[in-house]
């Protein structure tokens, strides 16, 4: 399966052949796979080096002069380290930019806490002019990037090296619209990216108990598909949110706010509760953070009590 990061390189290469306004800047990350773009567009490709805040800030200058910057590096360095630059230079100044990170919550599992990121949703969601796009497959990235990159907003693409295992028809993938992966009446699961695999496993488990699960898959968290979520939870009355973000201000919080006016519903969620300090495999860290199938089923069973 093609990695989303590889697709990023291919997508910008293709766009760059037609759209001479795009400028790609990387912070010494993905430099190898960006070479086709670099060779085709030597004046519009920059490996800026290891100075993320300045790279983001320089992109603001490029943006203000009418070009379309695409800035790429590892998530915590692009978003957390450079946050004042994003806030002031793009948020306050209302300048458009495409920020493409790599590495989601557990991707760099063996590298330790400096490389994990799960607060980026809280940080990037606060701007009036931002979009939070979290493609779960290479194809989703390609379609969503093409839909968004020219919109005069802060388009943030969060990409992981771990895709989900499913394919959707292309016309179903629309910026800001969730996907009803599966219809059901007993439980709603809201999930993003490769947590779709986990949601699907829960659904398979529940089938044995003759219960059906409605899975709402979000490749865009901002704008969020409010109607799809509310309609589903109104029907099932039970919702589990698989939230790969910070407990204090992640996807669960966003969904709870959307659902606060519904009566007689039960909500459970799993989020990142604390700093992830450990090393190990992606699965090790994921399980330790509470996303093992066993723990997910405990939450599900709580909803059915």
């Amino acid at each position: 399966m093609k990695k989303i990061r590889q697709q990023f390189a291919e997508t910008v290469l293709k766009i760059g052949k037609k759209d001479k306004n795009i400028v790609v800047m990387v912070g010494d990350i993905s430099h190898g796979i960006m070479q086709p773009f670099a060779k085709n567009n030597p004046r519009r490709y920059f490996n800026i080096g290891i100075c993320e805040p300045a790279m983001v800030n320089v992109a603001a200058g490029i943006s203000k002069m009418g070009l379309i910057p695409i800035v790429h590096t590892i998530t915590p360095f692009l978003i957390e380290r450079s946050f004042e630059q994003i806030k002031l230079d793009f948020g306050y100044q209302k300048l458009p930019v495409n920020l493409v990170s790599v590495g989601d919550t557990f991707d760099y599992s063996k590298l330790g806490c400096s490389h994990h990121s799960y607060s980026d949703l809280a940080m990037m969601n606060q701007f009036n002019n931002s979009q939070f796009i979290y493609p779960g497959s290479a194809e989703e990235f390609d379609i969503l990037f093409n839909q968004a990159y020219r919109q005069k907003k802060i388009n943030y693409f969060r990409i992981s090296d771990f895709s989900h295992s499913f394919k959707f028809s292309k016309n179903k993938i629309k910026l800001g619209k969730g996907i009803k992966f599966q219809k059901g009446k007993d439980l709603t699961i809201i999930c993003t990216a490769n947590f779709l695999n986990d949601a699907n496993l829960v659904s398979e488990n529940l089938k044995k108990e003759k219960k059906t699960t409605e899975i709402i898959y979000l490749h865009t968290i901002k704008p969020i598909d409010k109607n799809l979520i509310i309609k589903s939870v109104k029907k099932t009355k039970k919702v589990l949110i698989l939230d790969k973000f910070n407990f204090h201000s992640g996807l669960a919080n966003i969904c709870i706010n959307l659902l606060k006016d519904l009566r007689n519903i039960k909500i459970e969620s799993i989020s990142i509760n604390d700093f992830i300090h450990d090393y190990g495999s992606y699965e090790n860290l994921k399980n330790k953070a509470g996303f093992s199938q066993k723990n997910i089923m405990l939450k599900v069973n709580k909803l059915f009590k």
Partner: protein
């Protein structure tokens, strides 16, 4: 206290102080150290027809707290109305203690957090190179601002991308010296690969000489001018540092200021 000899832009200085007193907000000494440089830029160097003109030169005031100096110069050259200037600090005003590009057409960047405007200038110069344009990007930073890490990150980016269309002027009013001294600021810029020039930031002829040298450089390096200035220039009791950085003069002090600028009560 006597009027300083050869003091430039007395009218702009008075307007800076008057407007700040009326609003009870602003950085007078920082504005007085740069007003001659900004006036020189708009009078002699910057070519601009409209805010969206593709051929315009770009000026970014990176030390945003000197905003009032920019406002009075924009006002002088017809880019900002008297009515707007008088509303400074008011709830309905586009003008505040730091400039906001989303509110004022001729302001190129919203600055205030030091180190940002300079990086934006580097990005603007890079964009002009990408677009094959001949415009020049001018930036004005503080010497204290040179404490910021992003200044040096972006200085390196500018050198590596051969941005000889970029001129950064450092307002050397010795702010840095009283906070955390930077020895040999010129050598540091040189070490980062920049052409380094020095001048007196309160003298049009000295500024002119430095700008001429910048235009005559044949290499592909970005250029920095270290412009020696005095914080609070023209008002001796404000000059230097300390309590006047963000202080508003009272009525008695304002009377003295007017005399020092050569304006009597009738003016």
């Amino acid at each position: 206290m006597n009027i300083r000899k050869n003091l430039l832009n007395k009218d702009l200085r008075l307007k800076i102080i008057e407007t700040i007193i009326n609003a009870k907000e602003g950085h007078i000494p920082s504005s007085l150290s740069i007003v001659d440089i900004i006036n020189f830029l708009y009078e002699k160097k910057i070519k601009i027809k409209s805010p969206n003109d593709d051929k315009r030169d770009i000026f970014i005031l990176s030390k945003g707290h000197g905003a009032m100096a920019l406002y009075v110069v924009l006002n002088k050259f017809g880019f900002l109305s008297n009515t707007e200037l008088k509303k400074y600090g008011d709830s309905k005003s586009a003008l505040g203690g730091h400039p906001d590009m989303t509110k004022i057409k001729y302001v190129e960047a919203s600055t205030g957090s030091l180190g940002h405007g300079f990086c934006t200038a580097v990005g603007s110069a890079l964009a002009l190179k990408i677009k094959n344009k001949k415009n020049t990007v001018y930036c004005l930073t503080g010497d204290g601002e040179c404490h910021e890490g992003t200044i040096w990150e972006a200085a390196n980016i500018a050198t590596n991308n051969k941005l000889n269309n970029l001129l950064n002027i450092v307002d050397v009013n010795d702010s840095a010296k009283q906070l955390m001294p930077i020895d040999n600021l010129g050598l540091k810029w040189k070490a980062f690969g920049w052409n380094v020039l020095k001048c007196n930031g309160h003298s049009n002829s000295s500024l002119n000489q430095a700008f001429r040298k910048f235009k005559n450089f044949k290499n592909k390096k970005p250029t920095v001018i270290l412009a020696k200035t005095t914080k609070g220039m023209g008002i001796p009791f404000m000059e230097g540092h300390g309590r006047w950085h963000h202080k508003i003069p009272n009525e008695e002090e304002f009377t003295k200021i007017k005399k020092l600028l050569g304006f009597n009560e009738k003016n």
